[in-house]
Amino acid sequence: MPGVPLADYLAVASALFAVGVIGFLLRRNPITMLMAIELMWNAGNLAFAAFARTFVDFSGQIFVFIVVTVAAAEAAIALAIVVMVFRRRRDVDVDEISELRG
């Protein structure tokens, strides 16, 4: 059973990453923007796993594990920030949140 070559996995990961970039820049709902960030994390994870398989090396898979952990921490903290912003101003449109502008 021949495996799928590395280049194909990397192409899929690139496409996923590009969709994540567009979503992050295009949307104004912070929750949807966070989901676009998750898409980009996962594109990176797919590339790591593909490299680990190609070079038959566990380090890539360990890195995916670390990335998943950091992504969980990031999602928790970012959602807590969104909740706090919503408590302050009943509105979470990122274009309207400009209190930190100098």
Binding site: P2, G3, V4, P5, A7, D8, Y9, A11, A13, S14, A15, F17, A18, V19, G20, V21, I22, G23, L25, L26, R27, R28, N29, I31, T32, M35, A36, L39, N42, N45, L46, A49, A50, A52, R53, V56, S59, Q61, I62, V64, F65, I66, V68, T69, V70, A72, A73, E74, A75, A76, I77, L79, A80, I81, V83, M84, F86, V92, D93, D95
Partner: protein, 168 residues
């Protein structure tokens, strides 16, 4: 193998576009769950059984439930977030252009990647046992740091989201 790969690719791309394009965040979360499940199948094809499991349990389970809870709590009795016109004029054009530029940059790198089938992996590659052995011996320091990162995240979230009287 190839057919499964392309089916998964189609699901991944379509649901990713669904995440980005749908107006309601709950629909985005549903699309993201399907996306993560297809990615778990990809991990299985890459001999990464343990990663496929944590993809389902941590991502599709824990993180997306967190998203759903926040969406549920925030959108009670409020209108849609992106109702008015954007403050940034012509936001769509530079966004899509930069996405295409990112794709072109990545594709130029992918072009140089190997197009040959990967070598045969050992039988225990990516299984939970050998993964855990690697994680707790060779990569022990990274594992410990991961625990510390999670501790900091928990402390930060509790400090931010706790009520005022709990704050110190």
């Amino acid at each position: 193998m190839m057919a499964l790969f392309w089916i998964c690719t189609a699901i991944l791309i379509l649901t990713a576009i669904g995440v980005v394009a749908s107006r309601h965040p709950v629909h985005s979360v549903i699309a993201l769950i399907v996306n993560f499940s297809a990615l778990a199948v990809m991990f299985l094809m890459l001999n990464a059984e343990f990663l496929a499991m944590i993809q389902i349990i941590i991502y599709a389970g824990a993180i997306l439930v967190l998203f759903l809870f926040v969406i549920t709590l925030l959108t009670i009795g409020t209108g849609p977030v992106e109702s008015g016109p954007s403050r940034l004029a012509f936001q769509a054009v530079p966004s899509i252009v930069s996405g295409i530029v990112a794709l072109a940059l990545l594709a130029s790198g992918v072009r140089t990647a190997s197009a040959a089938a990967p070598p045969e992996a050992p039988a225990d590659f990516g299984l939970v046992g050998s993964f855990g052995m690697q994680l707790l011996t060779t990569h022990l320091f990274a594992f410990e740091v991961t625990g510390f990162v999670l501790l900091i995240a928990v402390l930060g979230v509790v400090l931010m989201a706790a009520r005022k009287e709990l704050r110190f």
